[in-house]
Symmetry: C2
């Protein structure tokens, strides 16, 4: 069976790291049919639309999508694409790799971020010359669905190993957003209790202090949408930046994979971008499509290259994107 994978390079280094990730996928004994699609600043310049309807439809109908990055139009591209693949959870691992300079080399956490609601579902109004409002949305159904996913994630042993307890931590701000985050917190903890999964909780501000002080306390962290955005980016700062971090936007029978980094306009076009985050995103894609062993092979190859292979400039080396990619393919 061939998997139809939509490939959206986007802007900037997306045009370099996505082809690198596709090269790695092509080296695997898995049958893919790649379908190229367009999105981002350049498309908007040309057509007036950052996300053409055909790209949305292709992503919606595919088995999975691999996306690079978009520039100024990032929000106009990624938010509808998350909707196109019907994604309810954004999976964001932040792992420090041996040999990579990290502020907290012991960091190994996975954020499970609610991917449809909160301020992202926000209806905004300009009520007067002086006043604007945004309606933040939290439902029990989305909170419970995320929690079910988190419980399965933990039960399947997909969380990081480490000092922390099994189970997960819910990070929220229910002491202020009592009704909305209160609902989120309550439903997530209720699902965990029903399924016998350990869950503790942390206020998101306290979490932001404690994660840098000791990341080994945490494993899987379940958050509302914006909290997950900010706290996972904080974790990125502890493992050495966004350059290595993959992510998955998982839906009911579709998903989209993307590096956490942006378009890196300062180095775009030079062939020196680090393809690691895109390749690790491809590993998540392979795993999502049922090829768990191949996903692991890609991850192992990447880890090998990170520890003693060629490195791009962001990691203190001088290798090109192609050299790093070839080294990963070599180790598969």
């Amino acid at each position: 069976m061939s998997h139809e994978v939509v490939v959206i390079e986007g802007d900037g280094i997306g045009k370099e790291v996505v082809p690198a990730a596709v090269e790695v996928l092509e080296a695997l004994p898995v049958d893919f049919e790649f379908v190229a699609a367009d999105a981002g600043d350049a498309v908007k310049e040309r057509t007036g639309e950052a996300l053409p309807a055909e790209t949305y439809d292709l992503a919606a109908d595919a088995d999975a999508t691999l996306f690079g990055a978009a520039g100024e139009t990032a929000a106009d591209v990624i938010l509808p694409l998350r909707e196109a693949v019907d994604s309810f959870v954004n999976v964001r691992p932040a792992t420090a790799y041996p040999g990579v300079d990290a502020l907290r080399p012991e960091t190994d956490v996975v954020f499970l971020r609610e991917n449809t609601e909160g301020v992202y579902a926000g209806h905004e109004d300009r009520l007067s010359e002086d006043l604007s409002t945004l309606t933040r949305v939290v439902t029990s159904s989305a909170s419970r669905e995320l929690a079910e996913y988190a419980c399965e994630f933990v039960e399947d042993g997909r969380g990081p190993a480490g000092d922390h307890d099994e189970g997960f931590t819910v990070a929220h701000k229910a002491n202020v957003m009592r009704e909305t985050d209160g609902r989120f917190r309550e439903e997530v903890l209720a699902v965990a209790a029903e399924r016998g999964v350990d869950a503790d909780e942390e206020l998101m501000d306290a979490f932001a202090t404690k994660l840098p002080l000791d990341p080994t306390q945490y494993g899987v962290i379940v958050c509302p949408n914006l909290a997950g955005d900010v706290l996972s980016d904080l974790a990125a700062g502890l493992v050495g930046g966004l350059g290595l971090l993959p992510s998955a936007n998982v839906g009911h029978d579709n998903a989209l994979f993307e590096p956490v980094h942006g378009t890196a306009p300062d180095i775009a076009g030079e062939g020196v971008a680090n393809p690691t985050a895109a390749i690790l995103s491809a590993a998540m894609l392979v795993e999502y499509l049922g090829h768990v062993e191949e996903g692991q092979r890609v991850r192992d190859a990447v880890e090998g290259v990170l520890s003693d292979g060629p490195r791009t400039g962001d990691l203190g080396g001088s290798a090109t994107t192609d050299e790093v990619t070839a080294a990963v393919v070599d180790r598969l």
Copy 2:
């Protein structure tokens, strides 16, 4: 002229660190009239109300208030107290002190957090069995008032010295909250431009990655309410925790000062809490009341004790609260 200062110890170590801070204030050549008032868990237990109306009124009528911490009732106490003193900005310095173990010893930043709006002004509704909403509020007037304060702060040279540019950074999420954070961003940048103060901007998620990677890029950071809450707590994690950080809730002709830490129930009642954050909050209070030199004397004394004086357990020492306080008073 005597300054009327309302003193609210609150719960837990609030009962230890606030008296320590008062002792330091009493050692200064400044005339204070201290008025004790109650708030917190214990009061709620006794009276059913975490913040008695008389405490609210006392704080509202005083020249300034010094607050410790409250336990479970923290939000019920501090949010109305911020309103009582008519506070529009929460000033939160995060400085790493020589001799104190910090993940990023070069951190020296000040957050100026909007203190009335955002989700904190949020009206919440339970619209159905499944759905709750919160209305987030942003006004041009509050955004501009914060920005005016930030400009004065920078103009008066109150921001940290360092590598970063003069001026301030606005952190926001206007790529998603286009109307509300868009308004905030636009007004803050407009005020800076009108006053000729340099201002740049950062998305709050990108800021959360970049601050741990290199805190020296930043000096004064201006944020919406919840962003300021989370990002300043992140900075606390970089300077070694909440134990040392003071804060000021500044209003039009009133203000409230509080350590950023909580009640620390694990060590409360043992006389070993670190009084530094409360004493530094008292230094901000003295400065706010116009005694800039005395405020600086307190800060210098605290820095001296931190670098070669007695230390409490959180800093690896075994001194008591009283010993540290006496050492600070000695150096005044």
